[in-house]
């Protein structure tokens, strides 16, 4: 089923009102919800029943890739030059581990950022119409994508959970 392009945005003064609205909408069978808030809150994630972020997988892949790059870079280039310096072996693992360590962190950090941007769909050129600047300040928002015929029952549900205002978006 195609995702509805239209929806409703409820604005809340209080966190517990938002959580109440999420739980009522879930009970009524509405699953396509997105919360907007000025600060992150575990209670919102728990209420929305979202899975944990996959960013950690990106971090792990980045770290492994960095370590491998460090090993290959140091060993392969040293073998390529094959010049003994300071009486040390051509492939001197202990000093190379420093480069391996730094590249592990560097690649891990870069892929963590990449993973965040990809998963959070950033950067975003156009701000979604559901966004209100107050959701970055002192209000909580709940964006429900639904068919136009559902607007009335959803509005009633939001208002019953003490929504301050309800707007239609994306019609």
């Amino acid at each position: 089923m195609a995702r509805p392009s239209a929806g409703l945005v409820g604005s809340f003064r209080h966190l517990d009102s938002l959580l109440e609205a999420i739980s009522r909408l879930h009970q009524a069978g509405y699953r396509d919800l997105q919360a907007l808030s000025p600060v992150p809150h575990h209670a919102i994630d728990e209420a929305l029943k979202k899975p944990p972020s996959p960013v950690r997988v990106f971090t792990l892949i980045g770290c492994l890739l960095g370590a491998a790059t460090g090993l290959v870079l140091t060993i392969a280039t040293s073998l390529h030059v094959s010049l003994i310096t300071g009486g040390k072996p051509i492939v001197s693992i202990p000093p190379f581990l420093i480069i391996v360590f730094e590249l592990t962190i560097l690649f891990g950090g870069l892929l963590t950022l990449g993973g965040m941007l990809l998963n959070a769909r950033l950067p975003l050129v156009h701000i979604v119409p559901a966004y209100d600047p107050r959701f970055s300040e002192d209000r909580f928002g709940l964006w429900i994508r639904c068919e136009v015929r559902d607007f009335d029952p959803v509005t009633r549900l939001l208002e019953s959970a003490d929504a301050e205002a309800v707007h239609r978006v994306g019609e």
Binding site: R13, V39, S53, I99, A120, L124
Partner: protein, 441 residues
């Protein structure tokens, strides 16, 4: 702080970003003059060669490497406060971490200049990087100087990522309240941030992992810097204590620099509600810890110099405490390990003038420490016929002052263009607005 509301936090922190007053412009342009003088001294070095510095055989590393080690050290406290205290869930970090992180980024921008300046021909800096070229020659990965390139560049990149990632939700608030070019600038930095649950979920995960990666990184960076010295066979440098000694010293100097900058920031922007005396007191307590570690390292160094029964080592130590640079040595002992002990007295660590004064003394002491380690080690090596004396010239001093001006140039811009306290993290520390408890946003 708990009686604040979300909108009050926005208002108070954004107030610091209003158009600056005359004092700001005076300080900014005075600083710019010093910076211009420093740049002139550098250009003079490029034009005339490194001979215009006081470098003299055998002291071929002096003020520039001192400055490099000093500024890399200053960077460390930012990562301690922002990453390590974040992992330990230390609540008071929320108000101070943004400034500390800015100190990290700008100190690294400053530190990174010195190896380039010291090259003499900075346009060949890319020779330090491993890249394929016609001769098939690669960098020597067994050299501590190459480790340094990797460590400092990684630290720079990760610190910048961490700084800007932390800024994104905050600049979204600023974006919503500005117009014109400012709006476009902040909209670019905010990258379309809206605070959806999806964005927060991935953001928090990424922030946690960046903190977790930055923590071992920060320990590695000054260890690697210390190995620039410890890997050599110079008496006074060749020591296994160097890595922990440098890391503790780095955090010591960095904390002092953060206090030096936070005190005027708090006063000028009237942020007393957010940067309370408790925050400064906690930083002072950390300084007691790092000061004790640094003091311990001084004692161990002395003890080992004697106990090793190694003549050059002991001679070098005697020279350090009684020779031409002895004044700097005693300043270092006094300012880094003895003066900070005054913070054991509650009245002193809760008094702003004392905190400010002692933090500046520690900054001076730590700069002297870097100088004493580097210059006395080289000036008094094994053979008496090759002993030498480094005396800085006007060019050395001008470049050093220029580096301070370069750091403050970025810091002054930061203080006016970005939120100096994290809006989001301060809000996170407040109880959320709840209908059930009657608390409002």
């Amino acid at each position: 702080m708990s009686d604040l509301t979300y909108s009050q936090v926005d208002r108070d922190i954004l107030r610091a970003m209003q158009a600056p007053g005359r004092l700001y412009y005076v300080v900014f342009f005075a600083n710019l003059l010093v910076l211009a003088w420093g740049i002139f001294a550098w250009q003079y070095t490029i034009y005339r060669g490194l001979g215009v510095w006081g470098l003299t055989h055998p002291v071929m590393w002096a003020m520039d490497i001192t400055n490099f080690v000093f500024w890399v050290g200053i960077a460390h406290s930012g990562t301690l406060i922002s990453a390590i205290l974040y992992l330990f869930r230390v609540r008071w970090r929320a108000s101070v971490y943004r400034t500390a992180e800015a100190v990290t980024v700008f100190a690294l921008l400053t530190a990174g200049l010195f190896p380039l300046i010291h090259l003499g021909r900075p346009w060949f800096f890319y020779w330090l990087l491993p890249y394929p070229q016609g001769g098939g020659l690669w960098v020597n990965f067994r050299s501590p100087l190459v480790w340094d390139v990797f460590a400092v560049m990684t630290y720079m990149i990760i610190s910048v990522l961490f700084f800007f990632t932390g800024l994104v939700p905050d600049v979204a608030v600023v974006r919503n309240r500005t117009t014109g070019w400012r709006h476009r600038f902040y909209a670019f930095l905010a990258q379309g941030w809206q605070g959806t649950d999806r964005q927060w979920r991935h953001y928090k995960a990424a922030y946690l992992f960046l903190a977790a990666l930055a923590t071992p990184l920060v320990v590695s960076v000054h260890s690697v810097v210390s190995w620039d010295f410890a890997q050599s066979v110079v008496a006074g440098w060749h020591s296994t204590i160097f890595a922990p000694y440098f890391v503790a010293g780095a955090i010591h100097s960095g904390l002092a620099m953060v206090i030096t900058l936070l005190i005027p920031l708090r006063r000028i922007f009237r942020l007393d509600t957010y940067l309370t005396q408790t925050h400064l007191e906690n930083l002072a307590k950390l300084i007691i810890l790092t000061g004790l570690i640094v003091g311990y390292a001084y004692v161990v160094e002395t003890y080992i110099a004697w106990y090793s029964n190694n003549v050059p080592e002991w001679q070098r130590f005697v020279y350090q405490v009684t020779g031409e640079y002895a004044v700097l040595f005693w300043i270092m002992i006094l300012f880094n390990s003895l003066v900070p002990l005054l913070f054991f007295v509650k009245r002193i660590r809760t008094s702003t003038p004392w905190l400010f004064g002692i933090s500046i003394l520690i900054n001076i002491g730590m700069w002297c420490e870097r100088f004493v380690i580097i210059v006395t080690g080289l000036a008094h090596e094994y053979d008496p016929y090759s002993w030498g004396l480094f005396i800085p010239t006007w060019v050395d001093i001008s470049i050093t002052l220029g580096a301070f001006a370069w750091f403050f140039f970025w810091f002054l811009l930061f203080a006016k263009f970005l939120p100096v306290i994290s809006i989001v993290e301060v809000k996170e520390e407040l109880p959320p607005p709840m209908k059930s408890t009657g608390s409002e946003a």
